[in-house]
Every structure is written in structure tokens, then in C-alpha cells.
């Protein structure tokens, strides 16, 4: 699936998006897989209270299922307006 990163998550991980092969069933499992990969992921996901997630462009929770998901995005709390 496509995994996208925005704002300081993008800067810490170093890419705006990437294709990730995963068997993770939930967002939380995907986060654990990514954190185990490299230090830059561990740094980006160090404080999960500051991480928001969208699955297929809908805001959701870490416990959300990834069944059928095409696109997962991670980003900090939003600061528009």
C-alpha cells in the first residue's frame, strides 16, 4: 500500500510517500513494523500522541483496520485556518 507522510513526519522520515509491503492488520501494527525498520521511523513515531492517521483519506484511529486499504497517511495534528 501507499504510505504518505506530511509536515515534520515527512521531514523526519525523509520521503513524502513510499510503497510498503505489509501484512499488518491495523494501523498500530503498521506503525510497529515501520518503527522496527530504521531509526528515522522510530524517531518519527516516537510520540504517538502527536501522530494522526488517515486511511484512504479519512481520519481514523490507530486501532483502525487496514483491510482493503490502499493509502495510509501519517501526520501531526492539523494547523490550518
Amino acid at each position: 500500500m501507499q504510505v504518505l507522510y506530511f509536515a515534520w513526519m515527512r521531514e523526519r522520515i525523509g520521503v513524502p510517500k513510499e510503497e510498503v509491503e505489509t501484512s499488518a492488520e491495523t494501523v498500530a501494527e503498521l506503525v510497529e513494523e515501520l518503527k522496527a525498520r530504521e531509526a528515522r521511523y522510530a524517531a518519527a513515531f516516537a510520540d504517538m500522541a502527536s501522530v494522526r492517521v488517515a486511511v484512504d483519506q479519512e481520519l481514523t484511529e490507530l486501532s483502525a483496520s487496514l483491510a482493503g486499504a490502499r493509502e495510509v497517511a501519517f501526520f501531526p495534528p492539523m494547523t490550518g485556518g
Binding site: F6, A7, E58, A73, F75, P77, M78, T79, G80, G81
Partner: protein
């Protein structure tokens, strides 16, 4: 009804005219314009967004507002990219027969837009702007 996410500036008067031209049933037209405030770190910021999700999130906020108030029209414009201090950043226009609906709906839209639409501000010098707890708390009054 319209949601626009664009780099270009907008003309508030022209946007209001798009709503009112050719009709005389609107009694209240409310517009809110958000501007880039001058910050200690510098005079420019960059606004990043999530193309695709941004439009969907704004359309959902607009639909939620229309579900609560009988709006005759609604227009949301949000800019992205580099923005200098003083620049217009966001515009919300609501139209209704009487003022209460237009006022309340415009505030509702701005409250949700602040913390539910995927935009992130980065200030020159100071880095990414932290989300304000007050913005999240503001949503509580609409539940």
C-alpha cells in the same frame, strides 16, 4: 456550494458576488477571512496540505454545516504554499434567510477546518506550528 483549495489569492467581494448575483432571497451573508499574522520567527510561512483528502475533509465539514443549518449557499476557499504575513489564507462565506444560521454555520466551519482539515503551517525560522489545545476544545461546543 463550493470548496476550493488553491495557491492563488482570492477576492472576497467577487466571491460574495458569485453567491448573491441573480437572486434576492438571501437575507444574511456572512464572510470570514483568515490572514497570516506576523510572527516573531519571520514574515513568511508555508502551508502544506494533503491533496485529495483536503477537498474531501472540507466537503464533509460543509455537508455537516448544511445538515445543521438551512444554508442557501456556502463557499470555502483555503490557500496553500508560501504565504507572506498579511496574506489572505482562508475564506468562508455562508448565506441564509436570517443572520443566526449564517453566523453560526461560518463559525462551525472554521472551528472544524482548524483541526480536521489536513493543513500544516511551517513558519520561516520557527518551524512547524504546534496545534493549539484551544482549537480542539472549540469543537466541544458543537457536540
Amino acid at each position: 456550494m463550493a470548496v476550493l483549495v488553491q495557491a492563488e489569492d482570492f477576492d472576497v467581494g467577487a466571491e460574495m458576488a458569485l453567491i448573491t448575483t441573480g437572486r434576492a432571497d438571501i437575507g444574511a451573508l456572512v464572510s470570514f477571512t483568515g490572514l497570516v499574522r506576523e510572527m516573531a520567527g519571520g514574515s513568511e510561512m508555508v502551508l502544506e496540505h494533503y491533496p485529495g483528502m483536503t477537498e474531501k475533509a472540507l466537503e464533509k465539514i460543509e455537508a455537516d454545516a448544511r445538515g445543521r443549518w438551512a444554508l442557501q449557499d456556502c463557499r470555502i476557499i483555503h490557500r496553500y504554499g508560501p504565504l507572506a504575513a498579511g496574506a489572505q489564507i482562508v475564506l468562508v462565506i455562508t448565506a441564509s434567510p436570517h443572520r443566526a444560521a449564517a453566523f453560526e454555520a461560518a463559525e462551525f466551519i472554521m472551528d472544524f477546518l482548524k483541526s480536521r482539515a489536513p493543513f500544516w503551517k511551517k513558519e520561516a525560522g520557527d518551524g512547524w506550528v504546534d496545534a493549539r489545545e484551544a482549537d480542539e476544545a472549540a469543537l466541544g461546543r458543537w457536540t
